[in-house]
Structures are given as C-alpha cells and as structure tokens.
Amino acid sequence: MLGSERLERLADRALAMSRADETEVVLIVQDSALTRFAQSRIHQNVSESNVELRVRVLVGKRVGVATTNDLNIRSLRQVTERALQLARLQPENPELAPLPDPQPITQVTSWSVSTREFVARQRAQAVSTICRLANEKGLEASGAFSTSASELLVANSRGIRAYAPSTLAELTTVVMSADSSGFAQDTAIDVAALDAERLGREAVDKALTGRHPQPLSPGKHTVILEPYAVAELLAYLAYLGLGARAFQEGRSFMTGQLGRQITGEQITVWDDGSDLTGLPFPFDFEGLPRRRVELITNGVARGVVYDSQTAFQEHKFSTGHALPAPDVFGPLPVNLFLQPGSQSVDQMLAAVDHGVWVTRLHYVNPVHPLNTVVTGMTRDGTFRIERGEIRNGIKNLRFTQSILDAFRSTRSVGTETRLLPGMVGGIRAPALLIDGFSFTSATQF
C-alpha cells in the first residue's frame, strides 16, 4: 500500500506533465492473496501486488487513454504523452463529455486493518476448519479464501482529488459426497466477520441432505431461491439493462418503461454505495460520489445509473457509477440491494406444497437480453419440496427464464438478507419464493 500522500504526489506529477486540454489520472493499488483448496487439501496459494496508472486526456472533442504499471518518472511522462498522441490521432466526437468537476464526497468505511494484515497461515487455518468438518462426515471440501487491500485515487485537471482505501474478504466452499454437494459463501470488508465453522457446517449439511438425488421432470415449478441464486439473477438484471448506456441505445428492458410496472409490487431494487451493510465505497472511477439510485420501486421502473458521458447525453448529473476508462460497456450498479420482505425462509417453505429449493445457479448467460431471458443450471444443493418440507435431493436442472417474469411471479420475499459478491461490487439479497419458474431440461447428476 502506498498511502494517499504518495499517490497524490504521483497523480500531481502526471497531471503536471500532461499537455492535453484536460487530464484525468487514476491510480489503483492492489495487494491480494488467495488460498484454494480441493479434495480437502490446499492446492493453490497465491499473492499478487500491483499498481496501475490510467491516464485519460481530452484534446478538444477527442479522448485517449493509456495505462502502465511502471511508476517511474520516465514512464509517467511516456504514458501521458501516449494518451495525448492517441487523442490527437482520432476524429472528433461532438458528443464527448468534458471531465467532471469536483463534488463533495462523504467518506464511508470500507477498510479493515484485520483484513489487511491477514496472512497465508490464517487462511490455511480457516481452510483446515472446513476440511475437518467435511472429513468428519466422509465428505470432501473445496473452495477459496481470498483477502485484498486496495487503494483508489482519482485526480483530474478540474480539481478532483478523491482517495479511499478498501479491503475485501471472501470465503467460498463446496463440500461434496459421491453424488451430492453443498455450497456456502460469505463476503465482508472485515475478514473477522467471516465464520469458517458456520460456512463449513452449512455446506456439509447441504451435501448430506442431497445424497442419493432423484430425477425431477423439467417444467414450471414453484421455487425457493436462496440469496445466492437471487444475487446471481440481480447481477444479470443489472448487466442487461440497469446502466444508462444500454438504456440510451434501446438495448435495455428499462428503455421506454420508466414509471411503468415491470415486476411484482414486492420487488424494490436500489444501488447505494454509502450503505454500510453492503460493500460501500465513496466514489467512482471518475472521482464522483456514488449516489443512491432507485432502480425498481414496488415493481415500478424508476431509473438507471449514469457516468459523466451518459449523463451528459441526457443533460443529467452522473450518479457516480463510472467504470475505469476507456469503458465501452458504460456505467453499472455496483452496490445492489433487493429489499427484504416479511416472510422467514421457514414460512416460505411451509407455504410450498410441491416445489424446488435452489441453492445457487451455475453458468448463467443471456438468451434474450431485451426480455431478460437467461439460462443456467442449478448447482450444489437442489432439493424437492413436498408439503412444506425439504424431501430429498434432486438431480440438477436447467432453467430458461425471464428474470422480470420471475420477479412478477414472486409470491414472497425473505426477511433475512445476505451480502454476496456481484460481477462487480456487492449485492445484498434475500430469498425469494417464485411460482412458475421455468426448468427446461435436466442433467445426469
């Protein structure tokens, strides 16, 4: 870790070297470590340390970006010059937004000393705990335990100076028998919040309950989706259309739908980078504050997230959701929340006569983006529900389902939520009870 003063000095130096009309400097420092285990043994144990400097320059209505991870003076000069040359070589873009002006940023805590100081031996001890729990039941454990400490500094020639350190810890395990498996996962800013014993027991219980899985015919079934599965659907919903770029290009399910009912009334989704129950971070990759954005409220489409460029095109303000430049994808929600409901998971279970319990989803991909149809498999804990109880494990099923349709058919939303990693950032989601979830084929295990 380099610290704010050193990073600011580097940024100021790069800004001073730039001969462009406008210049932005982004410095990303990352120290990360990860322990992977399989067959109840550690098989991969790694650490990496990197610093990335990204320079974006504007010359009139032209933009260029150059990056390096070499921070000596000669390299700083080269990278700013390279960005300038790239900008000069291209045709003008009349719709190019200027770099943003500074805005007040409210700091939020996204840093934990214990995560920063966590070492390989401590990761190995947590892994040993999970392996012991699995071995005691004649099962095998696999998974990964990662910790990272990062710094982000954004500075631009209009006066933006934004700096924040952050940490992240994530523990995932899949425990397996010969014919079943169980999954558990947790993520947190503070590694001390991760409980290897609890996660290990959760995965072991699933693997034991799922033994001797029976086939189930595909078709439309009532499902209880655990937060792991719900978070996956939310991540794809965000990817498919909760960013302004897809919205403006007509590729989003939100295009032309603002103010209209697009899901059931029980569904409320927002993005909030300052909520301490998520993975908060105070600003985006343009140095603008992450604002809370109401995306879907009681089923009504409310808005999408913006960066400076997409906001400029609609004469709006950025919501602080820019990704690192050059960003061809556009802004993305990175701190998603699905509002919890009023039913415990036990109450949900009691309400299901015949149905399927889904722990998590695997290899989800869009089939029809505009209709939010995705396909994927169930995995690591799929069970038959009969008369309000989990009856037995079932062989995994393929689903092909519109996410919005699933959210329209949501009968109830769980009271408890879980913080989970998204494609980028974090997602806090409850379990959902959904009717008519579409399973289109089955596999052999």
């Binding site: 043994r41 990496e48 990197n50 970006v65 990056t67 390096t68 991870n69 390989a120 061809v328 052999q444």
Partner: protein
C-alpha cells in the same frame, strides 16, 4: 531479465524450495473500439511484472509483483516460500512433477506486419468504414467494431535449469450490429461472436478479414431477424457452422478434458468433469467420425506458442480418437498422477497469475463432406451459425447454445430464416449423434479471447479448428 530470474530462483532455493520457477512478463496491448460512427475507446496499455512459483515440503506457493527490481525479486521469492509453507497446514500427498526439464530456447510468433507499428489512423479508418456500412438500415440501433493487438514478451526460468524467452503477438478484429424493433433485439457479428476474431500473427490477419465488405450483410441479417419466425421447438437434424461448432468443442470437450478439473481443483468454481480418469481409453465420447486433438503448433492459431508456462514444448496430442476418449490436457503435476508426461497445457494470464491447465488449440479434425452436399443430403432440419448464447453444467454434460442465425432445411435446401435459434443436449449423446463432418475446404481456425477459469479469474486466449458437422435427433428451440 536474467538477473531478476536468477535472483528469484536463488532466493527461493535458499529459503528451502525444492523447486521454483519464475516468469518475467511484459505485455503491451492496444484496444480500439468504434461505435455508431465515433471512436468509442482508444487505449494503449502496458503491464510488466514477475511471478515466482515455489515448491516447499511438497506444497505450492506463488507470489507476484509489478516492481521488477532485484530486491523485490528476493522479497517475492521469500513470500512464495512462506505461502508454500502455509499450504502444508492442509496438505495431502506431496506434489510430484515428473521428469526434470532443462530447456534453453527462444520462440517468436511468425508475424509479417507488426500490428503495433501500423498507424493508428489506418486502423480507425478501417473500423469506421465498416461501421458506416452497417448503419444504412432503419432498425440498426448500434453498430460497433473493434481491434485488439497484443505483444507479450516473457522469460521463463526454473531451478531445473530451463531458460526460455518468447515473444507472442496477437491481432484481432470484428464488427457487430444490434437491431431493435417490433419488440425484438437481434445481434449479428462478423467474423465471429465475442467481439472479434483473434489470431496469433500480425496485421496481415486483420486485412484478410475484409471487415467493411461484410458490414452491410450482417446489418441486413440483423434487421431481417426482427421479423423472422421463431425457431420452432422440436427434435430434428441439426447442422452447425464451424464457428458455433468451435464453441461446442470448447465447452463440451476442451474444458472437461482439463485434468485439473477432473482431479477436483476447480470443483468449487468452474466445476469438475464427466471425463473421469476411469473412463480414459474406454469411454465412447462420440461417433467414430469424431476425432479431437489439442495442437499448440497450428500456424497462426490463437492457442499456438513455443513453450507453455512450465517450459514444456508446444505439441499435438489426441483427446478423442474416432469417438473414443483418449487423453487429457495436462500439467507436469497432474500428468504425473496418471504416470504420464505433460502435453504442454499450463498457461498463466500475464505475470501476476499462477499457471493453470488451459486449452491450446482444441480442434475437431476434418471429415469428408462439403457443406453444400451436407445440406443437400438433409431432408428436414435446421442449420445454425455464429454463437449468441452458451451455458453448460458443472460436469460439462447438459448444454444449451443459442445462435445468431438459424435456417430451416427442407428437402436438401436452406429455407426460411428463423430467429432465436437454440439447441440443447447431453455431451456424449450429442457427439454420438454426429453422422457427418465437413472436410478441409470448410475447416477453419477460430480464436476465442475470452476463456475464463480459475481464482483469481484468468482469461485465456485459445483456438479451435472445426468444419461444419451434422447431428441427428437434437432438441432445438426451448420448450
């Protein structure tokens, strides 16, 4: 780089490593993206660093850093050793690497025109011309094109005495159009999906694509798809074009043949494999027409190199021979568990990540048919081309693919264009139903620059050669 490598290896050995290797890597890459007549993104990037892998008490440790100095080489090597010692807290049998390797060599991608020396204006002009050709129709919402050029220089050294330097060059480009209308959204791309067709080699690869000549055609197809009938759901005969078949090979043969998956190393993330070791040599993977090889020596193919990231020479090996499952993609360590030797499949994404077993070029060997004859020989079925959607279960059995284009086949002729083409199946049943593979004249190499695997996630650039093929009794459409 030799001094950095030497320092790291010495430091690892002094701290107790029984084996260590180091890779010092420098990457330069240029990305260009145009969209709707404007330059959307233009970036020139570089990244350099080194990674040290150390074996201590039979356990692995790996550490990497972007600071390429002698002092950092010592620190990072020490960290790799420390991590390896921590690994021994949860260990099983010690790692065995098999026979020692001692290779001193140099390899360079054959490259007629260095892509990073071509003026940027020429590249932008070519992409904008293609972009313009896609935007002449009313329903075109997004027209985009991209190029990516990568130059990677890497040095590998090991305590067994290997010292290998390689310079690998990639060039890639592609165009894509999205049409929106009638409550539909349809996408067409050229020459492949995934943003671009990527190959090993220079700018000559880009010029061969003739991007601008294909823009209008894919725009017309995307717009026609908006009002095309839905691909019906039924069980029928399916002919796949070579690019979709390339992805089918990737997902249903390449990944399940990775021996680390088979041994459980990816169990919690990407999954395991149905190609378990007890099936090696005896399992009927497909029909006798199906022969699939791993070949890292195909000229110009994306998965071609001189040596893998354990210093094993690039080579060709058989995975499926006339339908019979015969071999895996292997590392030194995993090969030793089967009493075999590595076939050179260990590759890392840049300097900061540990090598994993990755595909090289996984190719379906050509058969005898010509595509026209194959269609003429088919009474009733569907022809599908160019991937749009993909998904497969965590043992690589149940798959579902969507394609950009689908045409009905009636009495030996291509008929109506159908939208949302889709097919699904179980891997060995699907390959077992293959009754025709087209020949060398229809066979083509495809480059996939987006193969994800591992934690932390690594992206590999892999190749697949395939010719169109026919499959009987396949479920198409979604019920």
């Amino acid at each position: 780089m030799k001094d950095i490598a030497q320092r790291a290896l010495n430091a690892a050995q002094l701290r107790g490593a029984s084996y260590a290797d180091v890779r010092v890597v420098r990457q330069e890459w240029q990305s260009i993206q145009v969209k709707n007549g404007r330059v959307d993104a233009l970036a020139q990037n570089e990244s350099a660093g080194f990674g040290v892998r150390a074996l201590v008490n039979g356990c692995w440790g790996f550490a990497s850093s972007s600071r390429i100095t002698l002092a950092e080489a010592t620190r990072v090597a020490a960290r790799a050793v420390e991590i390896a010692r921590a690994s021994s807290l949860a260990r099983a049998a010690p790692v065995v690497l098999g026979p020692a390797l001692h290779t001193v060599a140099w390899y360079e991608t054959p490259c007629q025109v260095d892509p990073l020396r071509i003026p940027l204006e020429d590249k932008v002009e070519l992409l904008l011309a293609a972009d313009e050709s896609m935007r002449r129709l009313k329903h075109v919402a997004v027209a985009e094109g991209s190029m990516e050029f990568i130059c990677e220089v890497k040095t590998f050294a090991s305590t067994e005495g290997s010292f290998i330097e390689q310079r690998l060059v990639e060039s890639g480009a592609g165009i894509e159009v999205t049409a929106v209308g009638n409550g539909e959204l349809q996408t067409r791309s050229y020459p492949n999906s995934f943003g671009r067709q990527q190959m090993k080699g220079g700018y000559e690869q880009i010029l061969q694509l003739d991007l601008a000549d294909h823009g209008e055609q894919i725009a017309e197809e995307a717009c026609a798809l908006l009002s095309a009938p839905q691909c019906p759901s039924r069980t029928t005969t399916l002919i796949l074009d070579s690019s979709q078949l390339a992805l089918q090979v990737h997902e249903s043969c390449g990944h399940p043949a990775e021996l680390d998956r088979v041994l459980g190393d990816e169990a919690s993330f990407a999954g395991t494999s149905f190609l378990t070791t007890d099936r090696l040599g005896t399992f009927r993977y497909g029909s006798p027409l199906v022969t699939i090889v791993a070949d890292a020596t195909v000229p110009g193919a994306l998965g071609t190199f001189g040596f893998d990231d354990e210093g094993v020479p690039a080579q060709r090996s058989v995975i499926v021979d006339q339908g019979l499952f015969k071999g895996y993609l292997m590392s030194r360590e995993s090969a030793a568990t089967l009493g075999r030797e590595s076939n050179g499949a260990m590759r890392a994404d840049g300097w900061s990540r540990i090598p994993l077993i990755r595909m090289t070029n996984i190719n379906l060997e050509p058969g005898q048919w010509r595509l026209d004859d194959l269609i003429a020989d088919t009474d009733d079925g569907v022809y599908m081309a160019v991937n749009k959607s993909w998904s497969i279960d965590d043992k690589r059995l149940n798959f579902q693919f969507g394609t950009q284009l689908a045409y009905e086949i009636k009495q030996g002729k291509l008929g109506r264009l159908l939208k949302n083409g889709n097919y699904s199946g179980i891997t060995p049943e699907f390959w077992g139903s293959c009754d025709a593979v087209c020949g060398a004249s229809d066979w083509r190499m495809w480059g996939l620059p987006n193969c994800g695997k591992g934690q932390p996630m690594q992206t590999a650039h892999v190749g697949h050669g395939a010719a169109p093929a026919r499959f009987r009794n396949v479920r198409v459409g979604i019920r």
